[in-house]
């Protein structure tokens, strides 16, 4: 995977989401040593010439802030389902842009939200990028099915 998409590219793609949609909300920067808080998780599956998935997780505070910009409402006023939806769009954009760099053709699933049920899947971690926004962590992971290289 690292040959196909570097951690720098994953970070860049994620930062582009912030630059486009949250331009006034401060920069997303590489985080070192920040404990990952994964209150909200979402993923998209990629299938075809390359198979695997892209997962984004973040704290509820970050998720609420993203949603508050996208829904143009106060963070406290947003329903939890809408908060998850906003993170779903984040993973759609990040995953979709990663897909475009991978060998084609592939298809992209709609965002799959962690609704508190079973979230483990048979996969091996390919890449993990930890970013920080206003002191809060955002984690982007790329997974591949077990046994594939």
């Amino acid at each position: 995977m690292t040959d196909l998409v570097s951690n720098e590219t994953i970070a860049e793609i994620t930062q582009t989401f912030w630059g486009a949609y949250l331009p006034d909300a401060g920069d997303l920067i590489p985080a070192v040593g920040l404990p990952a808080i994964e209150d909200v998780r979402s993923r998209v599956d990629i299938d075809g010439a390359w198979t695997g998935c892209v997962e984004v997780s973040c704290s509820m505070a970050v998720a609420r802030k993203i949603a508050s910009v996208m829904f143009a409402a106060e963070p406290s006023e947003i329903a939890e389902a809408d908060v998850r939806d906003a993170v779903g769009e984040l993973v759609n954009v990040v995953g979709g842009n990663i897909k475009s760099i991978l060998p084609a053709p592939t298809s992209l699933s709609v965002p799959i939200l962690d609704d508190g049920g079973e979230w483990r899947f048979a996969a091996e971690l390919e890449s993990e990028v930890l970013l920080a926004w206003a002191g809060e962590p955002i984690v982007v992971r790329v997974w591949r099915p077990e046994g594939t290289i």
Binding site: G19, A20, N97
Partner: protein, 274 residues
């Protein structure tokens, strides 16, 4: 220390006026800070004051980085489409007719930024003026920023840049994907050339052009510099050649010898036959 002191700001005003003829008004303090803090981080110094110190010392790397950061590189492809409609519907047909025996055409994008404007012209010529394929066409782009000129030469753009006013038909026809970047076709890149050039400094001897694009540059200059640049532009434009300015810009009240011609939603300025 993230703020610029009054002294730093005053020094940068003078430096940028001298280096790039940019007028930095008093209300632009925030701009200095937002643009220069990344430079502070990149150069591993503590503050904007340190950057100013480095410039005073004559550190060319820092000078270049500061000019690059402070020069607006906001650019898009067929930016506010009206000027390109003017090229398509009036300027190019006129020039194709008047230059038919010379079979030469020279176009200068005089503040080309990362190249979108000149590449747009090249794509327009290729897709809609195929008669010109056998002509000698010089498409010349210049900018005062080294980084920007290098990026223009590379012809490689992010999705965010590609989104800015590039028609989808041209995107699929003239760009290929390389990783996260969209790269312009070699056939288009081979037709353009990009060079470093500072409009506000003395100009080297240069050829004459049929079209000069000088869009959204004058707005950054004071009146004296505007007049001076426009006079020199007129000197490099062939009689009957066209000057294209930004939407809010004009030659009126600044320089003689241009006839404004309204075309669609814009106005082009034609050099009078003298």
């Amino acid at each position: 220390m993230t703020t610029a002191t009054a002294e730093d700001f005053q020094y940068l005003q003078g430096f940028l006026l001298d280096r790039s003829a940019i007028v930095l008004s008093e209300d632009k303090q925030y701009l200095v800070e937002t643009r220069l803090l990344p430079v502070v981080q990149r150069h591993g110094v503590e503050s904007i004051t340190d950057l100013v110190r480095a410039i005073r010392r004559g550190d060319k790397t820092v000078e270049t980085a500061v000019v690059d950061a402070m020069t607006t590189n906001e650019t898009s492809w067929f930016r506010d489409s009206a000027p390109f409609d003017a090229l398509r519907n009036l300027v190019l047909p006129e020039l194709v007719a008047s230059n038919v025996t010379r079979r030469r055409l020279a176009i200068w994008s005089a503040a080309c930024s990362t190249g979108q404007e000149l590449y747009s012209v090249a794509m327009l010529l290729d897709s809609e003026f195929s008669d010109l394929a056998s002509w000698h066409v010089d498409l010349h782009g210049t900018d005062l920023s080294t980084t920007v000129v290098q990026r223009a030469r590379a012809g490689s753009f992010t999705a965010l840049e590609i989104n800015r006013g590039l028609p989808a038909t041209l995107l699929v026809r003239y760009f290929r994907r390389e990783g996260a970047q969209f790269v312009i076709a070699d056939s288009i890149r081979a037709r353009v050339r990009f060079e470093l050039f500072n409009l506000a400094r003395p100009w080297p001897p240069m050829q004459d052009y049929d079209v000069i694009l000088l869009r959204n540059v004058l707005i950054y200059f004071d009146v004296e510099t505007k007049r001076n640049v426009l006079e020199r532009v007129r000197g490099r434009l062939r009689p009957g050649g066209f000057l294209l300015l930004g939407t809010a810009e004009t030659t009126r009240g600044l320089v003689d010898g241009f006839r404004p011609i309204p075309v669609g939603a814009t106005t082009v300025f034609r050099r009078e036959e003298s």
